[in-house]
Symmetry: C2
């Protein structure tokens, strides 16, 4: 044997959390939480200046939301958000963390002399209990393309159990965006796929010649496996703004105070984008998100802070953008309109991963509508 | 958040199989079996010519072990070994596979017109039942450094349940080897570690300056995490024979017909190696294995086939060697003797991974014994 990796979870079956049988907690740890138990990974997130500045400013420019208040930090990780809330004047902060990172968070809290205010609780938010309801829930729950990881489920659960009637969510709002892009990535991925299939055919010849076994019956499943990997899986990318060839459109708007898990199980939208570049390639679509810290209607923020993961020349984030590549690419021209039918649901075999159905059609300036093209993608 | 990987299982707790609470099957799938559900990975193993030639020759040069016999293939994967056994004249072959790869194995068997002889059974060997006992158990169960993955447990279980009293194991014997080596890898790993710590100290300064939080209390756990990753984890490497600076020694010999799980839970050996190179660096130790196909005493092989993963100029395998690097390295000279106390046990949090205690001392030609150096390693 000789397994190169210890744990590539995509193929493994777990129950999904969308109304079907509950998730196996042990399996979920094996495939998800474990990642956040490494300080190396915490450091990556703590080094994301856009992410850090947004949360830092949202807290310290809106101290009135924290002074004398009780706060719950869902998935505190290293404890940084809990510490800022305490520094901003919170009376009490409950910092909940499911992984062993809770031990480090406790050390960090103590060494910053905030152990009288901050209580680090090791456990998953669904299991733990708090002695009181809270005024504010703060959490950095956003995954790639906002909803990957499905961690927001846990924040919603925390909100429904522990937030006071007039409480506030940090962040308060979230949006998912999609825009047509041009990129050389599509060609690279295609040649990777083609190379792997050439390699396969050489392998078939050798296996028959040297070992007397004809494996050609596996060509179809192998090519499907490779297609999924190279061509149908969305790609992390840090797009330059000039790679965006049309107007970005909003796929989903979320009010963190009101949204239910049911409402985020599926993201469906029909959008259109106006091509803004002269005669260029349409190589795919880029997806990103932003979140806002507006407080609530009764208790608004004094300073509205936005955290955006949109393509940016200078302010990239560790989230980057999720890119859905088209094979083959199309050509578009300024003034043309691209209509997109977008649908994202959770993977059957892992509720923290996603699958996407994306159909697009181009309306030329003449008014002529080109035939619609439908694609499937996996966000892994 | 924004987890880069979906599933790095090393940190996650599962029960161990060495007498303590049983392994969570679902978790084990998430972290182990899943890897073998990809044709891409099967192809890697099927492209390992040393591995393929050894099994192919062991079967076809010893047809008397297969003609008219019943065979069990444990972890058949693509089904290749089962197919060879059938082609060599087996009357019946039970090919057991725990992953969905069983579906492909079935297709392959059918397309090679062997579905009358080979029965592919999807399930883990511990759970399934066969209608009869078998004459031969064949399996390619070897992980890195032989025992990583702990798959041999399942082969032993199969042997005790399904092998006839005078049955034969393919392979019949296995050995673990260790030898002193020289390598530039140790310096690379050390500078990687040092670079990551320099980076950490810059990160501490920034986090305090920009975000008012002193994280220095995490320096020790972070450096421990990084040390484990860069310096204390054994490294896959394809060693050139001239990197071996002393005589290889056998750590463990296994008779696959007789060995018990208890006997492979721990590998302990005190060995010595004679330095064969003039004034050179001792940078670490390289570990590898070989297996043999000798049949049994009552029913020996006509042709003895060996599969070795020793350092080789031309015949590398996908197993390569596991390298245990020393920081700092030592110097040794021809004629000196290196005494090694080696102990390998299974990781508490994942019974398929290993930890190693390795102590060595150098006896100089003068007879003077240099002080013993003790190291800990993880095989992940």
């Amino acid at each position: 044997m000789g397994s190169t990796a210890n744990g590539a979870a995509a193929e493994r079956r777990t129950a999904t959390s969308n109304g079907r049988s509950p998730v196996d907690k042990e399996v979920d740890f094996a495939n998800y939480f474990c990642t956040y138990a490494f300080l190396h990974h915490q450091k990556e997130m703590l080094s994301d200046r856009v992410r850090m500045d947004a949360y830092y400013n949202s807290v310290f420019h809106n101290k009135h939301h924290f002074i004398g208040k009780t706060v719950l930090d869902v998935g505190t990780g290293s404890g940084i958000l809990a510490i800022w809330c305490a520094q901003a004047g919170a009376k009490k902060v409950y910092a909940v963390e499911a992984t062993k990172m809770a031990v480090h968070a406790r050390e960090l809290v103590k060494s910053n002399n905030l152990h009288d205010v901050i209580e680090v609780i090791e456990g998953s938010i669904e299991d733990i209990t708090l002695p009181e309801k809270v005024d504010v829930i703060i959490s950095e729950w956003m995954g790639y393309f906002l909803l990957r990881e499905s961690m927001f489920d846990s924040v919603i659960c925390a909100r429904d159990r522990w937030l006071k009637p007039n409480g506030i969510m940090y962040p308060s709002h979230a949006r998912m965006w999609l825009a047509p892009i041009r990129s050389g990535l599509a060609d690279h991925k295609m040649s990777d796929y083609e190379g792997s299939m050439d390699d396969w055919h050489g392998f078939l010849k050798e296996t028959e010649a040297y070992y007397g076994v004809n494996m050609s019956v596996l060509t179809k499943p192998f090519s499907q496996e490779q297609k999924k990997y190279y061509l149908e899986t969305s790609v992390w990318n840090s797009l330059h703004p000039n790679q965006v060839v049309g107007t970005p459109a909003i796929l989903k708007e979320i009010d963190c105070l009101k949204v239910t898990v049911e409402e985020i199980l599926k993201v469906e939208a029909n959008i259109s984008s106006l091509v803004t570049k002269e005669d260029t390639r349409l190589c795919g679509f880029g997806g990103w998100f932003d979140v806002h810290f507006k407080g609530s209607e009764e208790n608004p923020a004094e300073s509205n802070v936005e955290l955006t993961t949109a393509p940016s020349q200078d302010d990239g984030t560790h989230w980057g953008q999720q890119v859905f590549l088209l094979h083959p690419h199309a050509r578009v021209n300024e003034g043309e309109e691209i209509f997109v039918n977008f649908s994202m649901t959770r993977a059957e075999d892992n509720h923290r991963l996603m699958k996407v159905d994306l159909g697009y059609s181009i309306k030329q300036s003449s008014g002529k509508m080109l035939p619609r093209v439908d694609k499937k993608f996996f966000i892994e």
